[in-house]
């Protein structure tokens, strides 16, 4: 089976915002406790943070981490997480039916971000709280000193403000499951007034307003239109979330879901344009796709805890999806979609980073290890920085009921002008046939293949485990050639591939 791609150095989509490869840590399950934080662990640093986890996060080169939620944030009192640890209250987390010890708060997380070489993307609570607590939190985090809350931060051991620029105005406020759920009008008004107060502190903040929790919400996309109508001139991004599942075990259909993602992004981009025109505004709003991942493997297991049958445990195992090889392909397709929509999607956060629907897993008191989906995320994050290329793709297709023709070839390409590299990220959706791929690379000069990595496995359902963490890994491929301006590669059925060329 043949497929052809044409790329031209001047035909670009957009520079890629590095934050397209962001992630997310919520006070949920074991993301924080026994995830990033485990003071008794052999690798724990002076802050009680696991160095083995930090090393894996650094390996992924994560640009930003969203924090502290998620649903958690909608009833979170940020002040609970400051001051002496022994004085911090234990709270009942109504979102996940667990106890929160508050041993990790903004100070600990900020320190961890420095260690993990990443930046904070913070969320204020617009569920149980509002404008007033948001301005105090902002002052605590970003003000230099000489005011009530900034002086408390200093008294709590942090002299310099963290100067976090990227703030989420609540989380999934369209979701009826949210503590303090709002209608689009209620939320739009609250988000607008909160945004105004935050900008009155610092007009250079970048603010993220909540869009739809998924494209199947009954309020989608009217939610976006209404919320942006209230907030357009005070926000910079609108947040979208989407999770992928393959309960029906229909691989062809499953791997086509990134087309749905693409449609979702396109629709919301259209809503943004509509409101921009309505407001006669010259400023742009972009998409922050700040929760995305495969999430379905663990849902049955979590039901008892979420229903309260286990009481109020602290940091129980929750949302610990065991990712299989099939999910590598899905994550590859999702990342390709973001790269190909880099003109409107500026921020995206793999949800989440540690233990909770995560590429990195930990054993309490034991090792940290890489799930299967670690690999496509790794390749995109590490090698996907630069300019997204506008590809002309000619691929055979298959039919999917709700999506029409779906190409077997899923591909994106990133040009790094400084390093003179072009990197292709490829998924072959075909179950049995190899794709003979010809990629014409115009106006890039003579290139050579400098790296060619594949993630593939005969068993779609194979997972990595703590004991066997290397069932699915990336492997080098040989034999891919570049000649006469053309890359020729054979893409195995149901495989993920990264091919890098350099001038």
């Amino acid at each position: 089976m043949k497929a052809a791609v044409t790329a031209h150095s001047k035909y670009t989509i957009s520079d890629i915002d590095p934050r397209l490869y962001g992630s997310f840590i919520e006070h949920l399950g074991r993301a924080v406790y026994t995830g990033i934080y485990e003071p008794d662990h052999a690798t724990a640093d002076e802050n009680g943070m696991r160095r083995d986890v930090i090393d894996l996060v650094k390996e992924l080169n994560v640009p930003i981490v969203r924090y502290p939620g998620g649903n958690f944030v909608s009833a979170y009192n940020w002040e609970d997480g400051i001051g002496p640890k022994e004085d911090r209250p234990t709270r009942l987390d109504l979102a996940w039916h667990t106890s929160e010890s508050n041993q990790v708060g903004i100070h600990e997380f900020a320190e961890w971000c420095v260690s993990a070489n990443t930046e904070m993307m913070l969320a204020v609570n617009l569920g149980s709280r509002g404008l007033d607590e948001a301005r105090n939190f902002l002052e605590y985090v970003n003000h230099s000193g000489g005011s009530e809350w900034s002086d408390k931060r200093i008294a709590n051991g942090r002299k310099e403000p963290w100067d976090v620029k990227l703030w989420c105005l609540g989380n999934e406020m369209d979701g009826p499951w949210q503590i303090g759920h709002k209608t689009a009008d209620e939320y739009g008004r609250l988000a607008h007034e909160t945004a105004k107060a935050m900008r009155a502190f610092d007009s250079s903040l970048e603010l993220v307003v909540c869009g739809s929790s998924n494209a199947h919400m009954p309020t989608y996309p009217e939610w976006e239109a209404t919320v942006l109508d209230h907030t357009y001139n005070e926000v910079d991004y609108i947040s979208l979330h989407m999770y992928f599942e393959n309960r029906a075990k229909n691989t062809a259909n499953y791997l086509a879901r990134s087309i749905e993602l693409d449609n979702y992004i396109g629709t919301v981009a259209g809503v943004i344009d509509y409101v921009k025109a309505k407001k006669r505004s010259s400023r742009n709003v972009y998409i922050s796709f700040d929760e995305w991942n495969v999430w379905y493997h663990s849902k049955e297991r979590d039901k008892a805890t979420l229903a309260g049958a286990n009481g109020w445990p602290h940091a129980p195992a929750l949302l610990e999806d065991d990712y299989n090889f099939e999910d590598v392909l899905q994550v590859g397709c999702i990342l390709n979609t973001f790269i190909n929509r880099a003109d409107v999607v500026k921020i995206a956060c793999l949800a989440q980073l540690i233990n909770v629907i995560a590429p990195i897993m930990t054993v309490p008191g034991g090792p940290a290890w890489r799930q299967t989906i670690f690999y496509p995320y790794y390749f995109a994050s590490v090698y996907g920085r630069g300019t997204a290329l506008k590809l002309m793709v000619d691929s055979p297709t298959y039919k999917v009921d709700d999506l029409g023709d779906v190409p077997y070839l899923d591909v994106s390409a990133v040009h790094d002008a400084d390093k003179k590299t072009v990197t292709f990220f490829i998924v072959n959706r075909h179950g049995t046939e190899t794709l003979d791929l010809d990629a014409s690379l115009l106006e890039f000069g003579a290139l050579r293949v400098i790296d060619d990595q594949v993630v593939a496995h005969a068993d779609l359902n194979i997972t990595n485990t703590a004991d066997k963490p290397d069932n699915v890994v990336a492997k080098a491929v040989t034999g891919t050639s570049f000649a006469d301006g053309k890359l020729s590669a054979r893409i195995a059925p149901l495989s993920y591939r990264m091919i890098r060329l350099q001038a």
Copy 2:
């Protein structure tokens, strides 16, 4: 004058929820201070609670007591009532223009309930407060321990949670007099989000949403439709209130008001059905008629205090209606209505229990005594448990302008299958004629009259007083017979009657 009743053991209305005979104690007037609580009283227990009052409450077998309000709750900070008594703040109660010393709070009231052999029905403040304080109060009252608020309860001397299941989402929120009054949409949204957060703590809670304060509110019954539209799937009961008055001193009209009550219940039952269908819901919502009583005798006396002319007194005499014999008949008819509507009315609270429009009165430093209305409430509460029977009633009637034909005979009957008893509660509304009552009792087997009590007096305006507490009491009646499946009884004009039969 003749009247006939037919009862059949299989033709039932519903099992009666024992909470149909609940009552209510508000921080208002002398209900709490010098009512239940009077540390210097000769009968005071170790908690400062009057034992004489407790004994009378136990005599009434009160199943639940609603607390702490009423209008009071809409500006109440529940935390004011915890911790060392000497540290508790005195607050100005804007609802009743009094001072609140907070010497009684949730701990003291809970202890009292144990002593009085009753259960708590608690209300959260949705007037001046919202979701966040409600979840904290709930955690304080019901969580076992290991969290901020539950640990404070333990520190304040109560290890075991009280595990209160029945909670009111504010009080009379349709009333413009309410502190923090809401429109139906405002309240519906707030009640819904608060209910969700409370259920996230414990999905087995029973939640009561506010309906109309009376059937003459301009927003009735649209209020019910709107509020239930917002909240239907998160609440279990909708609260109704109604007070009865006879300012015109027209007994015939006054005693017909229970027909108005019946219509009110019927209308709201219809609204519930309507919203249930609209929501395609399979769950039921019932009525909590959690304030009802005669209330008009004392209103003129209270005006000065309520207008602030007396400053901010602590526990002044307020709403101390002196009930007369006529009110016995009214209360009898009301209770009959609840029994006959036991299919939709599951909870009802006589408002209130002590001193404030109450069956039990106290003299500070002196005795506690029974008002006239103590008796019909006593008979219904003590003997009205079981299954409400669907009676076919054939009675002569009289005309009332707004209600049409009103039967002279007002009656309900309760079957206790375990005790093999059938109990009739009867009021003869006729001013001068005795009712010759024939009651056919089908499929109950052979019965005999085991108790026959009447409350009657020649003077409709006679009251009980501290000095003469026995002007109106119940007296045994003889001569009532059961033969050939038929009870034959003579019901004196303007009398209240309870007749019990047993197999």
Copy 3:
């Protein structure tokens, strides 16, 4: 050029509420710090208040001072300003991008008012806060004692309550710039519920609800109609604001703006009548014009600070308009308009009093001095008490595009029946011609001219300064005569004039 005026002792507009000559001090710029409060100043009293400033304020006979804002109030926590000064927090004021040390709070301001022989007009925060904090503040300020907040006041050194009767329900809530801006419906609801709670404390309070921030707001005058529809029966005044500017340096147009002010007042008076009828109400609502002044000279200077370019300075120079002689004429016309609308405008506040768009300026560590506009405000406040007379005015006019025919003669007259005085306040708007004024004074008896003061200068742009504070002052005029019931006066072009007659 000739002009004629007819006055009759029985043809009156209304008694003038003395509060028509109120002013305003906001925690803004140097109004408070180095304005009224400068503990190190040579004239500082035992409270750290400048006596030289107090003397000037007393000279103006200011009846009320609105406090503490203005935009400031919409994120102000009044509790920050009580208790030991060293414990008070420093807050970031988001309205003016400054730091607030809270060294002056309600106690200090109240003491100052006593010293300055004026009364407090207080505002509650309905931006970031609501009903609950408002009722607490009210209790702190006005309750005699024996409750939580009143006892705190006493503990903080003030035994007697201040018993402030006049309260503003927030500030400029129609303005999108306001922290916690509300829509008309949102604000109307919040103001209504807050007003109810405040009146439940003291039904004799006078409450001021926010109208439009100016007549060019897109929501004007629908805002007034909506807000009053929510609040009519709980408020006493609706607040209007207006500032005047002459950026185009077109004196004729500038001095005609008081006609616009008159139209604005007339429209809102009409809205009040409309809502009064709609509510079938018998009570009246009046206008509190609680911010007015010339404001444009300093705006360019303030931009950097307001945009945050100077960080968060404490008490920087802000809104320090240097008033010129032209502004004397404008202020004279504005005050004439209020006097002539004294039937509907009961309260008006010159915004502001010290340093911030103010008649009184201070040099830190140096003198206090009078701006040009001090004089017309002084004459109106000191001599404008009594009854506003309905004048028949016959004056030549000139055309102004948006206003039509504008009379050259701007005049008001106040009759003090006790002192038997009639006082004229006059502005000649003509640039070059003297007005020969004949004023017929019917039924006042024989009068004589007892005072005749002019404020005039050849240079419209001349200002007073700290060094030359007497460039513009009032000067006595001679030659004005009263004979045969007629006052004859020559009013110089572009001059302000006060003429007093006495029987």
